[in-house]
């Protein structure tokens, strides 16, 4: 294909921007058909007498805007109308290590609204020591041997009982212990997703999941969600169009938005999964942290056809350092999941599993969760109050549960810039861009109240609001 493009050297705009604008205009007014191929980078840079980097930049901008897609080894193509929700599926990861790192190591010097696991003050070392000593007395060094890759049998028994509390009926055979929820997502990707398969994700969503799916070469399709989940008609349309193998979802207190799927939508999602033969990976990272009296069940509780793989992290309700989570896996994919677990890390630490097992058996975990729920509900309310009081022009949904608020910033304020300014003042949060694949989210920030007590919540939010005010003036 040859396009009639021109670069005007007298114009203020850079050459790459002129190329971008002209191709963009052609696509928008339908002068270029869906799936038609753009000129190769070499050909176009030669024809326009520009550096190849110039053309690459222009194509990258078009890709970011989802007007074109790249196919490895074959070139750049126009995205057909109506399919603009298809994300690119480069096997490369999305985030810079630096970006996530900041989230990963707790530093008391900072008021940290980015980390969404409990601060260390809420964890009783005394309890831990007691439980640990009991484990060592009972099992001695046996606790340090390999465990069955599916998990330590008494823990699987305990977890099957534990899941009943969420309305999930399962047997210990259904339960797989994994080394944290991220590993659960990775294992299910290995078991179910092949290169080129389509995986649905919510938009926005948890970037660790995007990384795991992309690493498998999945095509990602975003499902827009509102406060009570995705639009039903829209979801059905997308399912028919893209035939996903998997839908990764956080239906209760969604991360980052706090959305709560209505029961009707949970049931409808199951119906679709059955009709169109895909699986649902339900990441129930904070379903226990409900600050109201109403009962919220996971999708798995409504699943009578083994469509749902249920995944529950202990990083939010216990401590992340244990690296423990569990999955409830439908029978027909259990062998694949077991193989994928072995290929991932053979088995999860037997010592940690025994400790969690004792925490559950002795009722300490339940008590701890009740304590966290109470503590977090106070922090939640204070954060809502502090933001309403201090931050001018923002808006947000009040989930009454979970660990985060998803704050829409006023137009003048860019989340990345606000982040940089606040970091200087030792206050951090997560810019909205973390939850998208392509640089969107500049207008949002995620504020977690898990790791900060009330004083720090007020102090941190007043600092953020001061910085925001400075950006307006």
């Amino acid at each position: 294909m040859s396009l009639d493009l021109r670069i005007d050297k007298n114009k203020d705009e850079a050459a790459y921007f002129q190329i971008y604008e002209q191709i963009r205009a052609l696509i928008i007014r339908d002068a270029l058909e869906g799936n038609s191929k753009l000129p190769s980078i070499r050909a176009l840079s030669k024809a326009l007498e520009v550096n190849s980097i110039t053309v690459i930049n222009a194509y990258n901008m078009l890709e970011k805007e989802r007007l074109v897609y790249k196919k490895e080894g074959s070139g750049t193509f126009v995205i057909p109308k109506g399919e603009d929700l298809l994300l690119s599926a480069e096997p490369a990861m999305y985030f810079e290590p630096g970006e996530l790192d900041m989230e990963l190591e707790y530093d008391e010097e900072y008021i940290d609204f980015s980390i969404s696991s409990p601060d260390p003050k809420l964890f009783s070392i005394k309890d831990f020591r007691r439980v640990m000593n009991e484990v060592l007395e009972e099992d001695g060094a046996k606790a340090f041997m390999y465990q069955k890759s599916m998990g330590y049998t008494p823990l699987r028994d305990a977890l099957a009982g534990y899941a009943k509390g969420y309305g999930i009926n399962c047997s210990p055979d259904d339960v797989y212990v994994v080394s944290g929820a991220q590993q659960g997502i990775d294992i299910i990707s290995k078991a179910l997703v092949r290169s080129g398969d389509c995986v649905f994700v919510e938009s926005p969503t948890y970037s660790g999941a995007l990384a795991a799916f992309k690493s498998r070469g999945a095509k990602l399709v975003e499902v827009p969600i509102s406060e009570d989940g995705p639009g039903i008609k829209e979801l059905e349309r997308l399912v028919k169009l893209f035939k996903p193998v998997l839908f990764y979802t956080m239906p209760n207190f969604h991360n980052p938005t706090g959305s709560i799927y209505s029961e009707r939508k949970k049931r409808y999602m199951l119906l679709l999964a059955r009709k169109h033969d895909f699986r649902i990976l339900e990441d129930d990272y904070s379903g226990d942290l409900n600050y109201t009296d109403s009962r919220l069940l996971p999708v798995k509780a409504y699943d009578s056809n083994e469509r749902v793989i249920y995944l529950k992290s202990f990083s939010k309700i216990f401590m992340p350092g244990f690296r423990l989570a569990y999955m409830i896996v439908p029978e027909d994919i259990r062998k694949k999941a077991a193989d994928a677990k072995i290929a991932s890390d053979i088995s999860t630490s037997g010592l940690m599993q025994r400790i969690l097992c004792k925490y559950i058996e002795k009722g300490i975990l339940d008590k701890h969760i009740s304590y966290l729920r109470k503590e977090f509900s106070v922090r939640y309310l204070e954060m809502v109050r502090a933001i309403k009081k201090c931050m001018r022009g923002v808006s947000f949904f009040e989930p009454k549960g979970g660990l985060n608020l998803w704050i829409k910033l006023p137009e003048a304020i860019n989340s990345q810039e606000l982040y940089e300014r606040c970091k200087e003042k030792k206050v951090i949060f997560s810019p909205g861009t973390f939850y998208y694949n392509d640089g969107r989210g500049q207008d949002h920030i995620r504020m977690s109240f898990a790791a900060s007590d009330i004083d720090r919540i007020w102090e941190g939010i007043s600092i953020i609001s001061m910085e925001a005010e400075k950006m307006r003036s």
Copy 2:
């Protein structure tokens, strides 16, 4: 292509076997060209008026014998002569979960020669308790927060120092902590291997590595090795033919054979890696367990061009329940490895990392390794003696290090059958089939002396030899 095949219903042989034999003959006498396509399963089953399962069985037999290969979605093809070392690369895993499980959970009732990590009796709970308490006193609940995904900084410092003891010059920035060596292999696969890429493995080799590479859709090529490593000319021929991206190798006390690469071969491998632009993943699972006075360096110690990713497990010299290993990663692939680690499990348990760090800093780990080396060297000698004395007609290489012996059985004895018989008598080991991809290894067993004391070694070996004698008569 249409083949002139016939099924003779009067013959004793099953239909699938007749198909297999006829195609096999055609391939062997070069009547079918390399890479030519066999008829589709549907077409052939229709032409011969047989069930499609019959054709599938015949093709599977040809595939096992490595006369044909399958390409997903396009059919079955003849393997060109001289490329018969190319293994199939189905994304499916190899082993049945049951097969490996047996290796995974320690059961005192059995005399266990299959497990290759220390038995619990060799681990001091007292030391552990002391170290653990120090960690809790110093860091409190902070030890339970997320760590940086590359690892706990003081541990990375300690490990960089530790690696110097093996002649490896590296900085803490080069060191990545992972949750066990299997995860290290998985992470490097994610970082470097794309679907269709060629990965070299030794033959035989550790099956967990095969699983990780296959899960990435890698094409596996086997490199035959003898007591001092692969044939140099053969290796070069294979490298030129298949252009690998990675060579997974255990150059010191190879698992399962015990082979030790000569220094010349280690250096030559590096030369090839540089010349033909591939990486070496060196799994140094037991290099410390050398029972002679001669010094054995890892390949990484000779690597002046950043070709080697060095991987060291602590499961063999500490305890597997910690799920700890570390990698030394060349600078240019560090970002990819970091992304892959995040996508795998975010980070490794901070508590376990702190404990290992203290073990190293206080010199307890060094003392423990010396102790294990002494203990294992005695067990090694006793096992060699016991096998020579009790087991008639076997032969094996004496590595004078590591954790295993690779025993060639007399012709009359099949490893799988011997395994089943011995298991009844509460003695287990690893049948040789575990270390191949396709059912070979019937004539070998791997005997590990790590988890059994001297009495159990003699008792277990006398039971195995009795069962073997029964099989002869």
